[in-house]
Protein backbone atom coordinates (compact mmCIF):
# COMPACT_ATOMS: atom_id res chain seq x y z
CA UNK A 1 0.00 0.00 0.00
CA UNK A 2 1.22 3.47 -0.80
CA UNK A 3 1.95 5.45 2.31
CA UNK A 4 1.64 9.14 2.89
CA UNK A 5 5.04 9.98 1.45
CA UNK A 6 3.74 11.77 -1.63
CA UNK A 7 1.46 14.51 -0.44
CA UNK A 8 2.85 17.76 -1.71
CA UNK A 9 1.11 18.50 -5.01
CA UNK A 10 -2.49 18.47 -3.86
CA UNK A 11 -2.65 22.03 -2.68
CA UNK A 12 -2.99 23.35 0.81
CA UNK A 13 -4.44 20.92 3.31
CA UNK A 14 -6.77 23.54 4.70
CA UNK A 15 -8.79 21.17 6.80
CA UNK A 16 -7.74 17.62 6.16
CA UNK A 17 -10.39 15.15 7.09
CA UNK A 18 -10.77 11.40 7.20
CA UNK A 19 -12.91 10.06 4.36
CA UNK A 20 -13.38 6.77 6.20
CA UNK A 21 -14.64 3.85 4.14
CA UNK A 22 -14.94 4.94 0.52
CA UNK A 23 -17.24 3.19 -1.93
CA UNK A 24 -16.74 4.18 -5.55
CA UNK A 25 -19.63 3.40 -7.87
CA UNK A 26 -18.13 2.82 -11.31
CA UNK A 27 -14.66 1.57 -12.22
CA UNK A 28 -13.91 3.60 -15.34
CA UNK A 29 -11.11 6.12 -15.52
CA UNK A 30 -12.63 8.61 -13.06
CA UNK A 31 -13.38 5.96 -10.43
CA UNK A 32 -10.02 4.25 -10.74
CA UNK A 33 -8.13 7.58 -10.75
CA UNK A 34 -9.92 8.60 -7.56
CA UNK A 35 -9.01 5.32 -5.83
CA UNK A 36 -5.40 5.50 -6.88
CA UNK A 37 -5.09 9.15 -5.85
CA UNK A 38 -6.67 8.47 -2.45
CA UNK A 39 -3.78 6.11 -1.74
CA UNK A 40 -1.20 8.60 -3.01
CA UNK A 41 -2.71 11.16 -0.65
CA UNK A 42 -2.33 8.82 2.28
CA UNK A 43 -5.85 7.50 2.72
CA UNK A 44 -5.55 4.21 4.61
CA UNK A 45 -9.16 3.12 5.17
CA UNK A 46 -11.08 0.77 2.87
CA UNK A 47 -11.66 1.62 -0.78
CA UNK A 48 -14.16 -0.48 -2.73
CA UNK A 49 -14.97 -0.04 -6.41
CA UNK A 50 -18.33 -1.40 -7.58
CA UNK A 51 -18.18 -2.20 -11.28
CA UNK A 52 -20.73 -4.13 -13.31
CA UNK A 53 -18.11 -5.22 -15.81
CA UNK A 54 -15.41 -7.83 -15.27
CA UNK A 55 -12.44 -5.49 -15.05
CA UNK A 56 -11.40 -1.85 -14.82
CA UNK A 57 -10.35 -0.72 -18.27
CA UNK A 58 -9.51 2.21 -20.49
CA UNK A 59 -11.98 3.15 -23.21
CA UNK A 60 -10.20 5.29 -25.83
CA UNK A 61 -8.79 2.28 -27.71
CA UNK A 62 -12.28 0.81 -28.14
CA UNK A 63 -13.07 3.05 -31.10
CA UNK A 64 -9.53 3.10 -32.52
CA UNK A 65 -7.88 -0.25 -31.94
CA UNK A 66 -10.84 -2.62 -31.87
CA UNK A 67 -9.71 -4.43 -35.00
CA UNK A 68 -6.03 -4.49 -34.06
CA UNK A 69 -4.28 -7.72 -33.32
CA UNK A 70 -3.83 -8.14 -29.58
CA UNK A 71 -6.87 -6.02 -28.78
CA UNK A 72 -8.11 -7.54 -25.57
CA UNK A 73 -8.77 -6.89 -21.93
CA UNK A 74 -5.13 -7.25 -20.92
CA UNK A 75 -4.16 -4.35 -23.14
CA UNK A 76 -6.87 -2.13 -21.68
CA UNK A 77 -6.79 -2.83 -17.96
CA UNK A 78 -5.80 0.04 -15.66
CA UNK A 79 -4.19 -2.33 -13.21
CA UNK A 80 -3.62 -6.01 -12.69
CA UNK A 81 -5.27 -7.78 -9.78
CA UNK A 82 -1.89 -7.83 -8.09
CA UNK A 83 -1.47 -4.08 -8.45
CA UNK A 84 -4.97 -3.47 -7.08
CA UNK A 85 -4.16 -5.70 -4.12
CA UNK A 86 -0.91 -3.76 -3.56
CA UNK A 87 -2.90 -0.54 -3.57
CA UNK A 88 -5.48 -2.00 -1.22
CA UNK A 89 -8.28 -1.29 -3.65
CA UNK A 90 -11.13 -3.75 -3.34
CA UNK A 91 -13.43 -4.47 -6.28
CA UNK A 92 -16.95 -5.83 -6.63
CA UNK A 93 -17.27 -6.93 -10.21
CA UNK A 94 -20.45 -8.03 -11.92
CA UNK A 95 -22.58 -6.09 -9.46
CA UNK A 96 -24.47 -2.92 -10.15
CA UNK A 97 -25.30 -0.33 -7.52
CA UNK A 98 -29.04 0.24 -7.50
CA UNK A 99 -29.36 2.90 -4.78
CA UNK A 100 -27.37 5.08 -2.44
CA UNK A 101 -28.37 6.47 0.90
CA UNK A 102 -26.66 9.86 1.00
CA UNK A 103 -27.27 10.35 4.72
CA UNK A 104 -26.05 6.98 5.96
CA UNK A 105 -23.59 6.86 3.04
CA UNK A 106 -24.45 3.31 2.11
CA UNK A 107 -24.62 1.72 -1.32
CA UNK A 108 -27.15 -0.98 -2.21
CA UNK A 109 -26.20 -3.52 -4.86
CA UNK A 110 -28.47 -5.39 -7.26
CA UNK A 111 -27.87 -8.50 -5.15
CA UNK A 112 -29.60 -6.75 -2.26
CA UNK A 113 -26.34 -6.43 -0.36
CA UNK A 114 -25.76 -3.10 1.35
CA UNK A 115 -22.21 -1.76 1.46
CA UNK A 116 -21.67 0.52 4.42
CA UNK A 117 -19.48 3.54 3.71
CA UNK A 118 -18.51 6.93 5.05
CA UNK A 119 -17.94 8.58 1.68
CA UNK A 120 -19.40 7.71 -1.72
CA UNK A 121 -18.08 8.62 -5.14
CA UNK A 122 -20.46 8.36 -8.08
CA UNK A 123 -18.38 7.67 -11.18
CA UNK A 124 -21.13 6.00 -13.13
CA UNK A 125 -20.19 7.53 -16.48
CA UNK A 126 -22.62 7.64 -19.32
CA UNK A 127 -24.36 5.38 -21.77
CA UNK A 128 -24.52 5.70 -25.51
CA UNK A 129 -27.46 7.74 -26.74
CA UNK A 130 -29.67 5.68 -28.99
CA UNK A 131 -31.40 6.76 -32.16
CA UNK A 132 -35.03 7.75 -31.54
CA UNK A 133 -36.34 6.20 -34.77
CA UNK A 134 -38.21 3.02 -35.71
CA UNK A 135 -35.82 0.11 -36.20
CA UNK A 136 -33.13 1.49 -33.89
CA UNK A 137 -33.42 -1.64 -31.75
CA UNK A 138 -32.67 -4.09 -34.58
CA UNK A 139 -29.76 -6.49 -33.88
CA UNK A 140 -27.81 -4.97 -36.77
CA UNK A 141 -27.71 -1.62 -34.96
CA UNK A 142 -24.81 -1.14 -32.55
CA UNK A 143 -23.51 1.52 -30.21
CA UNK A 144 -19.95 1.79 -28.88
CA UNK A 145 -19.35 2.41 -25.22
CA UNK A 146 -18.09 -0.79 -23.64
CA UNK A 147 -15.60 -3.51 -24.40
CA UNK A 148 -18.53 -5.84 -25.15
CA UNK A 149 -19.87 -3.27 -27.64
CA UNK A 150 -16.47 -3.15 -29.37
CA UNK A 151 -16.26 -6.94 -29.50
CA UNK A 152 -19.76 -7.16 -30.97
CA UNK A 153 -18.85 -4.69 -33.70
CA UNK A 154 -15.64 -6.55 -34.42
CA UNK A 155 -17.53 -9.82 -34.71
CA UNK A 156 -20.06 -8.26 -37.08
CA UNK A 157 -17.48 -6.91 -39.54
CA UNK A 158 -15.96 -8.60 -42.53
CA UNK A 159 -14.02 -7.13 -45.44
CA UNK A 160 -16.41 -5.65 -47.97
CA UNK A 161 -19.33 -5.51 -45.59
CA UNK A 162 -21.47 -2.39 -45.78
CA UNK A 163 -21.22 -0.29 -42.65
CA UNK A 164 -23.23 2.83 -41.94
CA UNK A 165 -21.96 5.03 -39.10
CA UNK A 166 -24.50 7.53 -37.83
CA UNK A 167 -22.82 10.53 -36.22
CA UNK A 168 -19.63 12.18 -37.46
CA UNK A 169 -18.23 13.30 -34.11
CA UNK A 170 -15.11 11.90 -32.50
CA UNK A 171 -16.41 8.37 -31.94
CA UNK A 172 -18.13 8.16 -35.31
CA UNK A 173 -15.07 9.43 -37.16
CA UNK A 174 -12.69 7.11 -35.32
CA UNK A 175 -14.93 4.16 -35.95
CA UNK A 176 -15.45 5.00 -39.63
CA UNK A 177 -11.68 5.15 -39.98
CA UNK A 178 -11.16 1.82 -38.17
CA UNK A 179 -13.91 0.13 -40.23
CA UNK A 180 -12.45 1.44 -43.48
CA UNK A 181 -9.03 0.14 -42.53
CA UNK A 182 -10.36 -3.41 -42.24
CA UNK A 183 -11.99 -3.16 -45.64
CA UNK A 184 -15.61 -2.31 -44.87
CA UNK A 185 -17.49 -0.05 -47.28
CA UNK A 186 -18.31 2.82 -44.96
CA UNK A 187 -20.94 5.54 -45.14
CA UNK A 188 -20.85 8.25 -42.47
CA UNK A 189 -24.04 10.22 -41.83
CA UNK A 190 -24.17 13.53 -40.00
CA UNK A 191 -26.57 16.49 -40.15
CA UNK A 192 -23.62 18.93 -40.29
CA UNK A 193 -21.23 19.40 -43.23
CA UNK A 194 -18.53 20.10 -40.63
CA UNK A 195 -19.07 17.93 -37.56
CA UNK A 196 -16.95 18.99 -34.54
CA UNK A 197 -16.89 22.65 -35.62
CA UNK A 198 -17.79 23.64 -32.05
CA UNK A 199 -14.79 21.68 -30.73
CA UNK A 200 -12.11 22.38 -33.34
CA UNK A 201 -13.37 25.40 -35.30
CA UNK A 202 -14.79 25.44 -38.84
CA UNK A 203 -11.51 25.27 -40.71
CA UNK A 204 -10.10 22.28 -38.83
CA UNK A 205 -13.50 20.58 -38.81
CA UNK A 206 -13.67 20.96 -42.57
CA UNK A 207 -10.15 19.60 -42.99
CA UNK A 208 -10.88 16.65 -40.71
CA UNK A 209 -14.18 15.76 -42.34
CA UNK A 210 -12.53 16.01 -45.76
CA UNK A 211 -10.13 13.26 -44.76
CA UNK A 212 -13.01 10.78 -44.88
CA UNK A 213 -13.54 11.42 -48.57
CA UNK A 214 -9.82 11.00 -49.24
CA UNK A 215 -10.05 7.57 -47.58
CA UNK A 216 -13.09 6.41 -49.48
CA UNK A 217 -15.54 6.93 -46.67
CA UNK A 218 -18.78 8.13 -48.21
CA UNK A 219 -20.06 11.08 -46.17
CA UNK A 220 -23.76 11.97 -46.29
CA UNK A 221 -25.43 15.05 -44.99
CA UNK A 222 -28.62 14.07 -43.25
CA UNK A 223 -30.43 12.44 -40.39
CA UNK A 224 -31.72 8.91 -40.12
CA UNK A 225 -35.50 8.74 -40.09
CA UNK A 226 -36.01 5.01 -40.08
CA UNK A 227 -34.14 1.72 -40.14
CA UNK A 228 -35.87 -0.94 -42.22
CA UNK A 229 -35.03 -4.60 -41.58
CA UNK A 230 -34.32 -6.86 -44.54
CA UNK A 231 -35.06 -10.57 -44.63
CA UNK A 232 -31.35 -11.50 -44.76
CA UNK A 233 -30.54 -9.83 -41.43
CA UNK A 234 -29.21 -6.65 -42.98
CA UNK A 235 -31.12 -3.37 -42.88
CA UNK A 236 -31.55 -0.10 -44.72
CA UNK A 237 -31.02 3.28 -43.12
CA UNK A 238 -33.59 5.64 -44.59
CA UNK A 239 -32.60 9.28 -44.32
CA UNK A 240 -35.11 12.07 -43.83
CA UNK A 241 -34.59 13.21 -47.44
CA UNK A 242 -35.46 9.72 -48.68
CA UNK A 243 -31.93 8.48 -49.38
CA UNK A 244 -31.59 4.77 -48.66
CA UNK A 245 -28.36 3.25 -47.29
CA UNK A 246 -28.32 -0.57 -47.20
CA UNK A 247 -26.11 -1.87 -44.39
CA UNK A 248 -24.80 -5.09 -42.89
CA UNK A 249 -23.73 -3.15 -39.82
CA UNK A 250 -25.02 0.12 -38.39
CA UNK A 251 -23.24 1.95 -35.60
CA UNK A 252 -24.78 4.93 -33.85
CA UNK A 253 -22.39 7.45 -32.32
CA UNK A 254 -24.48 10.45 -31.35
CA UNK A 255 -23.26 11.18 -27.86
CA UNK A 256 -23.88 9.94 -24.37
CA UNK A 257 -26.45 10.32 -21.63
CA UNK A 258 -25.03 10.66 -18.09
CA UNK A 259 -25.87 7.76 -15.78
CA UNK A 260 -27.18 10.11 -13.13
CA UNK A 261 -30.33 8.23 -12.11
CA UNK A 262 -28.87 6.74 -8.95
CA UNK A 263 -27.97 10.24 -7.76
CA UNK A 264 -31.27 11.80 -8.81
CA UNK A 265 -33.19 9.10 -6.93
CA UNK A 266 -31.17 9.95 -3.84
CA UNK A 267 -32.19 13.58 -4.14
CA UNK A 268 -28.89 15.01 -5.43
CA UNK A 269 -29.03 18.17 -7.53
CA UNK A 270 -28.71 17.21 -11.18
CA UNK A 271 -29.20 18.76 -14.60
CA UNK A 272 -27.73 16.80 -17.49
CA UNK A 273 -25.27 15.40 -14.96
CA UNK A 274 -24.90 15.33 -11.21
CA UNK A 275 -23.95 18.85 -10.18
CA UNK A 276 -20.60 19.26 -8.44
CA UNK A 277 -18.33 22.07 -7.28
CA UNK A 278 -14.59 22.39 -7.90
CA UNK A 279 -13.97 19.74 -5.22
CA UNK A 280 -16.38 17.34 -6.98
CA UNK A 281 -18.79 17.68 -4.05
CA UNK A 282 -22.45 17.06 -4.84
CA UNK A 283 -25.36 18.64 -2.98
CA UNK A 284 -25.07 15.83 -0.39
CA UNK A 285 -22.08 16.21 1.96
CA UNK A 286 -20.94 12.59 1.92
CA UNK A 287 -21.38 12.10 -1.82
CA UNK A 288 -18.95 13.12 -4.55
CA UNK A 289 -19.23 12.68 -8.31
CA UNK A 290 -16.60 12.61 -11.05
CA UNK A 291 -16.13 11.76 -14.71
CA UNK A 292 -18.73 11.83 -17.45
CA UNK A 293 -21.63 11.78 -14.99
CA UNK A 294 -20.55 14.95 -13.20
CA UNK A 295 -21.35 18.47 -14.30
CA UNK A 296 -19.60 21.43 -12.75
CA UNK A 297 -21.66 24.23 -11.27
CA UNK A 298 -19.46 27.26 -10.63
CA UNK A 299 -19.50 29.09 -7.32
CA UNK A 300 -21.27 31.85 -9.26
CA UNK A 301 -23.98 29.39 -10.24
CA UNK A 302 -22.82 29.19 -13.86
CA UNK A 303 -23.30 25.72 -15.31
CA UNK A 304 -20.38 24.31 -17.27
CA UNK A 305 -20.59 21.76 -20.05
CA UNK A 306 -19.93 18.21 -19.02
CA UNK A 307 -16.43 17.40 -20.21
CA UNK A 308 -16.54 14.03 -21.88
CA UNK A 309 -12.83 13.69 -22.50
CA UNK A 310 -10.28 11.27 -21.12
CA UNK A 311 -8.12 13.70 -19.21
CA UNK A 312 -11.15 15.43 -17.72
CA UNK A 313 -12.25 12.09 -16.26
CA UNK A 314 -8.80 11.40 -14.87
CA UNK A 315 -8.40 14.84 -13.31
CA UNK A 316 -11.91 14.99 -11.90
CA UNK A 317 -11.37 11.61 -10.25
CA UNK A 318 -8.15 12.89 -8.74
CA UNK A 319 -9.87 16.10 -7.64
CA UNK A 320 -12.60 14.05 -5.99
CA UNK A 321 -9.96 12.14 -4.03
CA UNK A 322 -8.49 15.40 -2.78
CA UNK A 323 -11.97 16.74 -2.02
CA UNK A 324 -12.89 13.67 0.03
CA UNK A 325 -9.84 14.31 2.21
CA UNK A 326 -10.60 18.02 2.60
CA UNK A 327 -7.66 19.00 0.39
CA UNK A 328 -7.74 21.61 -2.35
CA UNK A 329 -7.71 20.13 -5.84
CA UNK A 330 -4.63 20.53 -7.98
CA UNK A 331 -4.76 23.42 -10.41
CA UNK A 332 -6.02 22.04 -13.68
CA UNK A 333 -4.50 22.90 -17.03
CA UNK A 334 -6.63 24.06 -19.92
CA UNK A 335 -8.81 21.16 -21.14
CA UNK A 336 -7.07 18.92 -23.66
CA UNK A 337 -8.09 15.99 -25.81
CA UNK A 338 -6.87 13.81 -28.60
CA UNK A 339 -8.44 11.75 -31.32
CA UNK A 340 -7.17 9.60 -34.18
CA UNK A 341 -8.55 9.06 -37.67
CA UNK A 342 -7.10 7.65 -40.88
CA UNK A 343 -3.69 7.33 -39.26
CA UNK A 344 -3.55 10.97 -38.18
CA UNK A 345 -3.37 12.14 -34.57
CA UNK A 346 -5.44 15.17 -33.58
CA UNK A 347 -4.77 17.18 -30.44
CA UNK A 348 -6.77 20.13 -29.19
CA UNK A 349 -6.37 22.35 -26.16
CA UNK A 350 -8.79 25.02 -25.02
CA UNK A 351 -11.51 26.38 -27.28
CA UNK A 352 -11.38 26.92 -31.02
CA UNK A 353 -14.83 28.40 -31.53
CA UNK A 354 -16.55 31.43 -30.06
CA UNK A 355 -15.11 34.90 -29.64
CA UNK A 356 -11.57 35.70 -30.76
CA UNK A 357 -9.47 35.68 -33.89
CA UNK A 358 -8.59 32.48 -35.66
CA UNK A 359 -5.02 32.03 -36.88
CA UNK A 360 -4.09 29.29 -39.31
CA UNK A 361 -0.60 27.91 -39.64
CA UNK A 362 -0.11 26.42 -43.10
CA UNK A 363 3.02 24.91 -44.52
CA UNK A 364 2.84 21.35 -43.29
CA UNK A 365 0.77 18.41 -44.52
CA UNK A 366 -2.02 19.61 -42.24
CA UNK A 367 -2.95 23.05 -40.93
CA UNK A 368 -2.64 23.95 -37.27
CA UNK A 369 -5.25 26.35 -35.92
CA UNK A 370 -5.16 28.82 -33.05
CA UNK A 371 -7.68 31.12 -31.44
CA UNK A 372 -6.44 34.29 -29.77
CA UNK A 373 -8.33 36.84 -27.77
CA UNK A 374 -6.93 40.07 -26.33
CA UNK A 375 -3.41 39.04 -27.27
CA UNK A 376 -3.64 35.73 -25.43
CA UNK A 377 -3.93 32.26 -26.83
CA UNK A 378 -7.19 30.53 -25.85
CA UNK A 379 -7.05 27.40 -27.98
CA UNK A 380 -4.95 25.36 -30.39
CA UNK A 381 -5.40 22.33 -32.57
CA UNK A 382 -2.91 20.33 -34.61
CA UNK A 383 -2.60 17.11 -36.56
CA UNK A 384 0.44 14.85 -36.16
CA UNK A 385 2.14 17.70 -34.33
CA UNK A 386 1.45 17.10 -30.66
CA UNK A 387 4.25 19.31 -29.39
CA UNK A 388 2.63 22.39 -30.90
CA UNK A 389 -0.43 21.75 -28.77
CA UNK A 390 1.66 20.80 -25.71
CA UNK A 391 3.49 24.14 -26.06
CA UNK A 392 0.21 25.97 -26.70
CA UNK A 393 -1.23 24.51 -23.54
CA UNK A 394 1.58 26.03 -21.52
CA UNK A 395 1.29 29.37 -23.33
CA UNK A 396 -2.42 29.41 -22.42
CA UNK A 397 -1.98 28.25 -18.83
CA UNK A 398 0.79 30.75 -18.17
CA UNK A 399 -1.09 33.55 -19.95
CA UNK A 400 1.92 34.36 -22.10
CA UNK A 401 1.14 37.02 -24.73
CA UNK A 402 1.45 35.74 -28.30
CA UNK A 403 1.70 37.43 -31.66
CA UNK A 404 -0.60 36.43 -34.49
CA UNK A 405 2.26 36.68 -36.98
CA UNK A 406 4.42 34.25 -35.07
CA UNK A 407 1.54 31.80 -34.65
CA UNK A 408 0.91 31.88 -38.39
CA UNK A 409 4.58 31.37 -39.25
CA UNK A 410 5.52 27.70 -39.64
CA UNK A 411 9.17 28.64 -39.13
CA UNK A 412 8.53 29.70 -35.53
CA UNK A 413 7.99 26.78 -33.18
CA UNK A 414 5.64 27.30 -30.27
CA UNK A 415 8.24 25.72 -28.07
CA UNK A 416 10.59 28.55 -29.03
CA UNK A 417 7.86 31.08 -28.23
CA UNK A 418 7.41 29.48 -24.83
CA UNK A 419 11.15 29.49 -24.16
CA UNK A 420 11.55 33.10 -25.29
CA UNK A 421 9.02 34.12 -22.64
CA UNK A 422 11.01 32.59 -19.79
Amino acid sequence: MTSSDALPTAGSPTERRDAGRVVIVGGGLAGFSAAERLRVLGHTDEITIVEGEDCLYDRPPLSKELFAEGFDVDALEFATGERLADLGIGTRHGRRATAIDPTAASVTLDSGEVLPADTILLATGGRARTLPVPGADLPVVHVLRTLADAQAIRDAVSAGCRAVVIGGGLIGAELASALRKVGAAVTLVDPSPTPLAHAVGELMANHLHGMHLAHDVDTRLGVAALIEPASDGSATVVLADGDRLPADLIVVGIGIIPNQEIGVAAGLDADDGILVDAHQRTSAPKVFAAGDVARRRGDDGVMHRREEHWEAAQLSGQAAAAGMLGLAPEVRGTPWFWSDRHGVHLEVVGRLSGSGTQIVREGGPHPAVFLIEDGLLVGAGSLDDANTVRAARRLIDQRIPVSADELADPAVSLRAMLRASR
Partner: protein
Protein backbone atom coordinates in the same frame (compact mmCIF):
# COMPACT_ATOMS: atom_id res chain seq x y z
CA UNK B 1 36.31 5.90 -19.52
CA UNK B 2 36.31 6.78 -23.18
CA UNK B 3 36.07 3.14 -24.20
CA UNK B 4 32.91 2.54 -22.21
CA UNK B 5 29.63 2.38 -24.09
CA UNK B 6 28.83 3.26 -27.66
CA UNK B 7 29.15 6.72 -29.20
CA UNK B 8 25.66 7.45 -30.53
CA UNK B 9 25.75 11.18 -31.20
CA UNK B 10 27.49 14.43 -30.50
CA UNK B 11 26.27 16.72 -27.75
CA UNK B 12 25.45 19.40 -30.33
CA UNK B 13 23.05 16.99 -32.08
CA UNK B 14 20.62 17.12 -29.15
CA UNK B 15 19.61 20.68 -28.27
CA UNK B 16 18.08 21.52 -24.93
CA UNK B 17 14.50 20.32 -24.65
CA UNK B 18 14.86 17.91 -27.53
CA UNK B 19 15.64 14.28 -28.11
CA UNK B 20 16.95 12.00 -30.82
CA UNK B 21 16.14 8.42 -31.61
CA UNK B 22 18.99 5.92 -31.91
CA UNK B 23 18.14 2.87 -33.95
CA UNK B 24 18.24 -0.43 -32.09
CA UNK B 25 20.80 -1.77 -34.56
CA UNK B 26 23.32 0.83 -33.36
CA UNK B 27 23.08 -0.14 -29.71
CA UNK B 28 22.23 -3.81 -30.16
CA UNK B 29 19.15 -3.41 -28.01
CA UNK B 30 15.65 -4.80 -28.40
CA UNK B 31 14.18 -1.30 -28.77
CA UNK B 32 15.47 1.95 -30.19
CA UNK B 33 16.83 4.34 -27.58
CA UNK B 34 15.71 7.92 -27.09
CA UNK B 35 18.43 10.32 -25.91
CA UNK B 36 17.06 13.42 -24.19
CA UNK B 37 18.55 16.78 -23.29
CA UNK B 38 16.66 18.34 -20.41
CA UNK B 39 18.32 21.60 -19.44
CA UNK B 40 21.79 20.30 -20.26
CA UNK B 41 21.31 16.97 -18.52
CA UNK B 42 21.28 13.96 -20.81
CA UNK B 43 19.17 10.84 -20.32
CA UNK B 44 18.43 7.69 -22.31
CA UNK B 45 15.31 5.53 -22.24
CA UNK B 46 13.78 2.84 -24.41
CA UNK B 47 12.17 4.84 -27.18
CA UNK B 48 8.82 3.07 -27.44
CA UNK B 49 6.12 4.22 -25.04
CA UNK B 50 4.97 1.32 -22.88
CA UNK B 51 1.34 2.26 -23.56
CA UNK B 52 1.10 1.99 -27.34
CA UNK B 53 3.71 2.51 -30.01
CA UNK B 54 4.74 6.14 -29.98
CA UNK B 55 8.36 7.27 -30.07
CA UNK B 56 9.27 9.03 -26.83
CA UNK B 57 11.97 10.93 -28.74
CA UNK B 58 9.06 12.89 -30.23
CA UNK B 59 7.68 13.67 -26.77
CA UNK B 60 7.52 16.82 -24.71
CA UNK B 61 10.54 17.16 -22.41
CA UNK B 62 10.33 19.25 -19.28
CA UNK B 63 11.46 19.17 -15.66
CA UNK B 64 12.94 15.69 -15.72
CA UNK B 65 9.91 14.19 -17.42
CA UNK B 66 9.03 13.11 -20.95
CA UNK B 67 5.40 13.20 -22.00
CA UNK B 68 4.41 10.73 -24.72
CA UNK B 69 3.44 12.50 -27.97
CA UNK B 70 0.27 10.46 -28.37
CA UNK B 71 -1.57 10.28 -25.05
CA UNK B 72 0.65 12.24 -22.68
CA UNK B 73 1.62 9.30 -20.47
CA UNK B 74 4.60 10.57 -18.47
CA UNK B 75 7.93 8.93 -17.65
CA UNK B 76 10.77 9.97 -15.39
CA UNK B 77 13.85 10.70 -17.52
CA UNK B 78 16.20 9.47 -14.79
CA UNK B 79 14.88 5.95 -14.40
CA UNK B 80 12.01 5.43 -16.86
CA UNK B 81 9.43 5.10 -14.09
CA UNK B 82 5.87 5.65 -15.29
CA UNK B 83 4.40 8.75 -13.65
CA UNK B 84 1.01 9.09 -15.30
CA UNK B 85 -1.65 7.12 -17.10
CA UNK B 86 -2.61 6.00 -19.67
CA UNK B 87 0.78 4.29 -19.48
CA UNK B 88 0.96 1.83 -16.61
CA UNK B 89 4.37 0.22 -17.12
CA UNK B 90 7.87 1.66 -16.78
CA UNK B 91 10.27 1.90 -19.70
CA UNK B 92 13.88 0.73 -19.40
CA UNK B 93 16.63 3.27 -18.91
CA UNK B 94 20.19 3.25 -20.17
CA UNK B 95 23.34 4.87 -18.90
CA UNK B 96 24.55 8.05 -20.62
CA UNK B 97 28.16 9.20 -20.53
CA UNK B 98 29.13 12.61 -21.85
CA UNK B 99 32.65 12.16 -23.17
CA UNK B 100 33.82 15.56 -24.33
CA UNK B 101 31.68 16.34 -27.35
CA UNK B 102 30.43 12.76 -27.64
CA UNK B 103 27.36 11.14 -26.15
CA UNK B 104 27.99 7.54 -25.21
CA UNK B 105 25.33 5.03 -24.23
CA UNK B 106 25.92 1.99 -22.08
CA UNK B 107 22.90 -0.14 -22.95
CA UNK B 108 20.90 -1.64 -20.12
CA UNK B 109 22.06 -5.31 -20.09
CA UNK B 110 18.46 -6.46 -19.71
CA UNK B 111 17.63 -4.83 -23.03
CA UNK B 112 20.40 -6.27 -25.20
CA UNK B 113 19.34 -8.37 -28.16
Amino acid sequence: MSDEGIVVARVEDVPDGEAIRIDAAVTGTVDAIAVFNDGGDFFALDDTCSHEKASLADGWIEDGVVECPLHAGKFCLKDGAVLSMPATRDVACHQVIIDGADIRIVPNPDRLQ
